[in-house]
């Protein structure tokens, strides 16, 4: 019996909006990795002394570095927002017999994010 197999095109992910979002979310891992590398470079620069740290700052201040980091932040934000949106699916939490509504689980995630960010900000600017 000859059957027809629909080929998978290179741009299959453009077929549906959800696929595009999904591929962008997958792509965001590259930028997460970039942030890790950037952080390691920063730590390395600091450990090499003040001059090295200044060189790092100058390098980071160039327009294309700023552009890369803004782009990276947007992707990481996308990752966070979509991830938080999906969190209630993985977590079936029950309180006194009834399941905690999805909205509350999402809200708890954003709250935790806010608290952590505030803590980091406090550490940095104090």
């Amino acid at each position: 019996m000859s059957v027809y197999q629909r080929p998978v095109h290179l741009f299959w992910w453009l077929e549906r909006r959800a696929y595009v979002l999904f591929v962008l979310r997958e792509l965001s891992s590259v930028f997460v990795a970039w942030f890790v590398v950037f952080l390691l470079l920063l730590v390395n620069a600091i450990s090499d002394g003040a001059a090295s740290y200044q060189r790092f700052l100058d390098w980071s201040g160039q327009w294309w570095m700023v552009a890369i980091n803004v782009l990276a932040m947007l992707f990481v934000l996308l990752h966070v927002v979509t991830w938080f949106g999906l969190a209630p699916r993985a977590m079936a939490i029950k309180v006194r017999g009834s399941r905690v509504p999805a909205k509350q689980i999402v809200a708890a995630h954003y709250l935790a994010w806010l608290v952590l960010s505030a803590a980091v900000a406090w550490l940095v600017v104090r």
Partner: protein, 253 residues
Amino acid sequence: MAATEITLEVARYRPGVDSEPVLQSYQVPLREHWAILDGLTYVKDHLDGTLSFRWSCRMGICGSCGMTVNGEPQLSCATFLTDYAPGPIRVEPLHNFPVVRDLVVDIDDFMTKLPKVKPWVIREVQSPIEEGEYLQTPEEMDECQQFSMCINCMLCYSACPVYSLEPDFLGPAAIALAQRYNLDSRDEGADERRDVLSSPEGIWACTFVGECSAVCPKGVDPAGAIQRYKLTAATQSIKELLMPRSLIPRSKG
């Protein structure tokens, strides 16, 4: 004046004749209450007897008539012509499956995978029928109720890009049905299902696109089932790393 007809552009694939599907247009009456399926049966009865498609209950419960309507996987008996007016409406077979003929796809792959997750009650000791029912409170039943609603219509497989890229993936419905039994208070088979579910072709192949749940006509949420099981499996693995297996209580999905 409102249109009285609408155009269906139906994918035709005749094995041995066509090398790939071609669209054929049919004019069908545009009537209130008419589903895409009514349009297709009109074609078959009055215009072209050679069009092949599956259908049976026409009330959204048998799962036969899944098709791709304007790019979206749908039950054709529960998708209505008037919602697509003035048309045309493109009707194609479900994506991600080999096409046997016209709108008919081959779902043997799912039928082969389904038994692998052991979708039946497993117990160490079967109580005799004479002792009556296994007690199960409505709250306990609620745990697995949602995942027991799967009608095997295959819309989730059709929407899943992982399945299209990795045909070995167990897939949303099969995993949701495994979870249906894992979460059933009467079942003790979670450990037996674990190896298959935790394999690379199981839950870990899922990258959480979430489209399976978006297209599910019965609100089963297979994506949720998979994510929940990932959490269970991960927790179980960590426990095993820290404690000898014999001390770990039986998992409950």
